[in-house]
Amino acid sequence: MKKNNEMLSAAEIREKRLGVLYKILPVISVLLLVALWLAASSSGTGFPSPIQVWDRTVQLFVKPVKKLSLIGHVGVSLRRIGLALLFDWTFGIAFGVLIGWFPRAKAFFGPLFNAFRAIPPLAWIPLITLWFGIGEFPKVLIVIFGSLASIVVNVQAGMSNVEKMYLDVGTVFNATPRQRLLKIAFPSALDAIFAGVRTSTSAAWMVVLAAEMLGANAGVGFLISRGMDSLDMPLVLTGMVAIGVVGAILAIVTQFAERMICPWTRRKKSY
């Protein structure tokens, strides 16, 4: 009994040490980046130092640009991708299931979809501006065009690679076509669907910033183009840091959601 306890605590110590290590490593990398940044900005090429960027960020809260603080601009960008992702995760998943599960639908829509996917989202800007002018809707539309393909492709891959052995279980139990789709194929594709959720989120975040840089009066992308126009480099870097931080938070949130919804994908830690 005693020996057992000792073994357990050895395992716990290993677990704890690893836990600490995995918490320290990212902190070290961030510190290294800041150090490099300090070194690069001290050479006097007009590249702002972290301190200048920090001051500029604080100033942004005191004296907002276009009545919005940094948080406000991040919020505007997030709202745009939120609306786009809402569409991606409903229509996009449904469409991916359609062309992944029904071979006829794939034969019918496949070529069109592949052509659509090949067009970069920014190429749509002229047409979208022509049809819908400038406003919120066309921006959300560009984000949708830029992020829809990644979820559709992932969902389609998951739905067309359902393992035969799971479907065999359904056959033995006389599953209806509807049950085969909803109780076997769809859940077995959930990890692929989540991969789509993750990639569409990061794609949407990239596209919204690009779209905002081309013409907007709010949003993080707008902050960067404003900084560029007024030769305000610290503002540009504030925007870039905000993009990085928000992007990382989005990745963590989607990962966390996946773990909550698909607990069986939580694999054992490897040492």
């Binding site: 033995v172 139990f173 006389n174 859940p187 069986w264």
Partner: protein
């Protein structure tokens, strides 16, 4: 003929072949069999002889190119609720817990949650997995996974249970334990079991009758009646060893 020998499943000239790169591959040839109600029938055959193909046809997972299958006197085409299957590769759904896997068949049949939970729990207890209801398959050992597969098949209350080399992937110790377990469950919950194996000892240990298949394409080589050998059997008993070597001498070597 006494009522114990009621025929429940009859295979009539079952054939299966596949189109492959260099022609046609015959996997099962003219297999005719009568399987009696509540018997433990073991189908013994060398590796790759067509055992899984034969089981798949009975389960309705593939259609034979020739021959007929009669269940309770009626011809069946495709899968039937009265036939259950324990798969060679277990086929547990990784996104479902043990309970979710075991109750799957009843869920598809539209049985209400409380009721199917109760039935599933009964079989989870029967196979000795009490306490693991909420575990996921990746948290279980090979033997435990196969227990889940057995419980899942029993839960739908089939008349005939097909078991396709259920213990092929297990180590020898676990295998012996599982063989005893399957006999215990069979005594407790009488069903017709068609058990596939390539292991002669396992066959002689479990079977009421052994159907010996030839090399690929599978044909019925011989049928042995072991009902004279009382169960549970002792693997070192002279009568056991005698029949074992008899079957062994008659078995084709796997290619």
């Amino acid at each position: 003929m006494d009522e114990k020998k009621k025929v429940i499943l009859r295979l009539e000239n079952i054939c299966q072949s596949y189109v492959v790169q260099n022609g046609v591959k015959d996997a099962v040839e003219n297999v005719s069999l009568e399987i009696y109600d509540n018997e433990f029938l073991v189908i013994l055959g060398p590796g790759h002889c067509g055992k899984t193909v034969l089981m798949n046809m009975i389960a309705g997972l593939e259609k034979p190119v020739g021959g007929k299958i009669f269940l309770d006197g009626e011809e069946i085409h495709g899968s039937d609720r009265r036939i259950g299957m324990v798969f060679q590769s277990m086929n547990l759904m990784p996104w479902r817990t043990v309970m979710g896997n075991v109750e799957f068949g009843l869920e598809l049949a539209g049985v209400k949650k409380a009721e199917r939970r109760a039935v599933a729990q009964k079989y989870i207890d029967l196979v000795g997995l009490t306490g693991f209801e909420n575990s996921y398959p990746h948290e279980l050992s090979g033997g435990m996974k196969q227990r889940v597969g057995i419980a899942r098949a029993y839960t739908n209350n089939p008349q005939i249970l097909l078991m396709d080399e259920p213990f092929g992937a297990l180590d020898a110790q676990t295998r012996y334990a599982m063989e005893e377990e399957v006999l215990r469950i069979w005594e407790q919950e009488k069903r017709t079991i068609i058990f596939v194996t390539n292991n002669i000892e396992e066959a002689v240990y479990l079977a009421d009758r052994i159907v010996l298949l030839s090399n690929c394409p599978a044909t019925v080589k011989q049928v042995y009646d072991l009902s004279g050998l009382p169960k549970p059997r002792n693997m070192t008993d002279p009568a056991f060893l005698k029949i074992r070597s008899e079957v062994s001498a008659n078995t084709d070597l796997a290619l």
